[in-house]
């Protein structure tokens, strides 16, 4: 093939920047200078805006005679709190009352996250089911709970369901005994006695041994290929240790705390209020709807070839999900799941409308009793920020571990 004539013609020089030619442009046109200058200027403006905001609060507080210190936290709170898992008395300080609120929030958030994940995964898988009825029910659940404001849902559960249960004197009785009424759920609960120590020690030893056995046997199965029933074995170890502990204490490790109907209410046993129940159920169903969609997105993100190959290998549904689909889907699911968990924690602040004394509710009561709005809101924000940052930190670490390592 003949060479083209254009090969012997010097090409036109391409338009080049003066910096590429080796000449520095004037600084007001130099991109590197402009870039740095813009960043410095924005940083300076942000600091200025922040300083102005803080100064505004300080000047306004001075003008109106408001104090901005945190010393008021040591004063006695004076107000009662409806329910708390740690002992509280109105003579305790504001700081301790605040702490009660934090514990209540963590309790609702922890249990809520657990159940929301379970329910959400279940509903998400149901949505993808090939059974027409199951998938339609899942769709109905998801669409209903996603499109109704959470506050409306909470009020529906509280005013419409839990306070409409029968009166205390006519409680629903289940074997246990478990009493269900509009005052809440009362059930018999084991309480520790003075002789429980040997049982607790052997239970602790049993848990540690079970974990070790589980890990060792599983490693053994992966290296040798022989079936070692690591699940059953570790469970057996745990049961043996618990049994030994029970035998040692002669069966006196626990004492049944049975609720007894007094003048107004039951006394004794484990008590869960309708406020807590309504908040938990409302939060769990609401967040589960969103988590279901996240799970569905994750599963659909796994390429269809994986599903077909797994079927070709003869894996059944649970093996398919557990070994092939979910490990790959989790990479897509975790980041939006973190957002849903944080939403659940923050949404728990709506408990103020149904009377559950969590952090925000106790904070607002403190503002009204102590009069320091700015400080209390700063504290509330700091606590929510701390909870959210810790949650997202832990989950992001897990996310990084399961990420695909690409070239």
């Amino acid at each position: 093939m003949p060479l083209r004539a254009s090969l012997f013609v010097t090409p036109e020089p391409l338009p080049m920047r003066s910096s590429q030619l080796g000449e520095t442009p004037p600084f007001w046109r130099d991109e590197r200078v402009l870039r740095i200058a813009a960043q410095l200027l924005s940083a300076a403006l942000m600091i200025l805006a922040l300083y102005w905001a803080v100064d505004n609060v300080r000047t306004a507080a001075q003008q109106r005679g408001l104090s901005l210190g945190f010393a008021f936290l040591k004063e006695s709170a004076g107000f009662p709190i409806g329910e708390s898992d740690i002992p509280y008395d109105p003579s305790d300080s504001f700081a301790y009352a605040f702490w009660v609120g934090v514990v209540n929030t963590l309790k609702v958030a922890g249990i809520g996250v657990l159940f929301a994940t379970l329910l959400g995964t279940l509903v998400g898988l149901a949505r993808l089911s090939s059974n027409w009825l199951v998938s339609r029910i899942a769709v109905a659940f998801i669409e209903f709970h996603r499109n109704i404001p959470l506050l409306v849902l909470l009020l529906l559960w509280y005013r419409g369901v839990f306070t409409k249960l029968p009166r205390v004197q006519e409680s629903i009785v289940w074997p246990g005994p478990i009493y269900l009424s509009q005052r809440g759920l009362y059930m018999a609960w084991p309480r520790l006695t003075s002789e429980s120590a040997p049982f607790l020690v052997s239970a602790g030893v049993g848990v540690i041994l079970a974990i070790l056995v589980f890990a060792w046997l599983r490693r053994l199965r992966e290296t040798s290929g022989r079936p070692t029933y690591f699940g059953a074995a570790s469970l057996g170890v745990l049961v043996i240790c618990l049994g030994a502990g029970w035998f040692l204490t002669g069966g006196n490790a626990f004492q049944a705390d049975i609720p007894v109907l007094g003048g107004f209410n039951f006394k004794g046993g484990l008590h869960q209020t309708p406020e807590f129940a309504a908040l938990l159920v409302g939060l769990v169903t609401y967040t589960a709807a969103f988590i279901a969609e996240v799970v569905r997105a994750g599963i659909q993100a796994v390429s269809r070839g994986q599903l077909e190959a797994a079927r070709a290998l003869g894996l059944d549904y649970s093996q398919l999900l557990g070994l092939v689909i979910m490990p790959q889907a989790l990479r897509v699911i975790i980041p939006p799941l973190i957002s849903q968990y944080l939403n659940l924690v923050k949404n728990s602040s709506l408990a103020i409308f149904i009377g559950y004394p969590e952090l925000f509710f106790i904070g607002k009561t403190t503002i009204n009793q102590a009069g320091r709005a700015v400080q209390v809101f700063v504290l509330i924000m700091v606590v929510y920020l701390a909870i959210s940052l810790v949650t997202s930190l832990v989950l992001n670490l897990y996310n990084r571990r399961i990420q695909l390592v690409e070239r």
Binding site: T59, G78, G82, R167, A373
Partner: protein, 392 residues
């Protein structure tokens, strides 16, 4: 192409932020524009001056000759009054959901025992009892609303306590003497507080009610479980459902809300009073002139009932034989209207708009309304606690 525009965008954003910052600064400190540096330099002295001036102002009417030598007004004196006059209406923090005290009538107009005070003040200061905007504030919001000056006056059956006086603002003059009580279903047969041992009690959060309940039960070594809500309606709704054995609040509020129940006769208010609840209107701190104006209007309405001036006869009483009446209504003498920036017939206008204290009481919570007996709210001449200094 787009890269060339980045510096232009940055410049525009910087300009916008600068304008927002400058504009915001001017709006945030209107009253202290001249005194801004003064406030920042000597805050402690300003606080002392306010305390001093309260004492001086009360004594000025008695020694009018000292006026040329009076100390200069502190920053904030008259600021709220000027704001009200410029705005043309009074912003009254009140209730819209408590029968008798602050509620909306069938036409959507705010009426009530507390609202009428705001109308009286508007009539006295602005010559128009309708120049009132009632802002509903919840029990939790009323403190901050007053601290920030979002409302000019809080007429919302708030109890006067020392800590609230220190934190929220200035409490003016007791408008209604009340006490805290309990309401139980009549069928329960409870008659005393000791019978409520172990009960579940519904209460509104962020109120003195909550604190008094805890104190009363602790004092008597009784136990109870509180169920608290921020919204009063939820409290009483939940009580009616049976979730609580009793509900506690000021007795006037219990009576008012019971009147709205499906069956008011099925509930009794116990004959137990566990606290003093002097319900008092409050104003934001810092403006002594406004503080004095509100007090003087309340005194005017109480003195009018004492002297027999009513809404019907106020037009004629201007020429009454009683010197005190003529002075009250402004047809003779002075009681400090000029110092306070009020027209001479301010009290006459207020009475014309809403009547005297007794008429306001009867209209909303007397025989024509909730039918709460006057009891401690009778005039001092009839054995009650309603007493006001003379306007002279």
């Amino acid at each position: 192409m787009s890269r060339k525009f980045i510096p232009v965008f940055v410049l525009l954003i910087i300009l916008a932020m600068v304008m927002a910052a400058c504009g915001g600064q001017k709006a945030a400190t209107p009253a202290a524009s001249s005194g801004d540096s003064g406030v920042a330099q000597e805050p402690v002295i300003q606080t002392v001056e306010v305390v001093k001036t309260v004492v001086v102002t009360v004594e000025v009417p008695a020694a009018g000759a000292e006026q040329p030598a009076a100390p200069p007004a502190p920053t904030g004196y008259g600021a709220i009054v000027q704001r009200i006059k410029d705005r043309g209406k009074l912003i009254c923090g009140g209730r819209t959901d408590l029968a008798g005290f602050g509620v909306l009538d069938a036409n959507g107009r705010n009426v009530g025992f507390d609202i009428d005070l705001c109308r009286a003040i508007a009539a006295a200061l602005l010559d128009d009892p309708e120049a009132v905007e009632v802002v509903a504030v919840s029990a939790a919001e009323r403190g901050p609303a007053l601290q920030n000056g979002e409302v000019d006056i809080l007429s919302r059956n708030a109890t006067w306590t020392s800590s609230r006086d220190a934190q929220w603002g200035n409490f003016t003059w007791i408008w209604f003497y009340d006490g805290q009580g309990f309401m139980v279903p009549a069928a329960s047969g409870i008659t005393s507080i000791e019978q409520l041992d172990g009960a579940t009690i519904c209460v509104t959060s962020g109120t003195t009610t909550e604190l008094n309940l805890a104190d009363a039960f602790r004092q008597r070594n009784l136990e109870f479980t509180p169920v608290t809500f921020e919204d009063t309606n939820t409290v009483y709704g939940t009580y009616q459902e049976g979730r609580c054995d009793a509900v506690t609040s000021d007795k006037s509020q219990l009576a008012a809300l019971r009147s709205g129940f499906a069956d008011p006769t099925a509930h009794t208010i116990l004959d137990v009073t566990i606290s003093k609840e002097p319900l008092t209107p409050a104003v934001p701190a810092g403006d002594d002139q406004w503080f004095d104006i509100v007090k003087v209007v309340i005194w005017g309405l109480i003195n009018a009932e004492e002297l027999g001036v009513t809404q019907a006869n106020v037009a004629d009483m201007g020429s009454s034989a009683n010197i005190q009446v003529r002075r009250l209504l402004g047809t003779e003498g002075e009681w400090g209207q000029a110092d306070l920036g009020l027209p001479v017939d301010a009290i006459a206008k207020a009475i014309q708009a809403v009547g005297n204290y007794g008429e306001i009481y009867d209209r909303h919570i007397g025989p024509d309304g909730l039918n709460i007996p006057r009891g401690p709210n009778s005039l001092w001449t009839e054995g009650g606690l309603i007493y006001a200094p003379s306007l002279q």
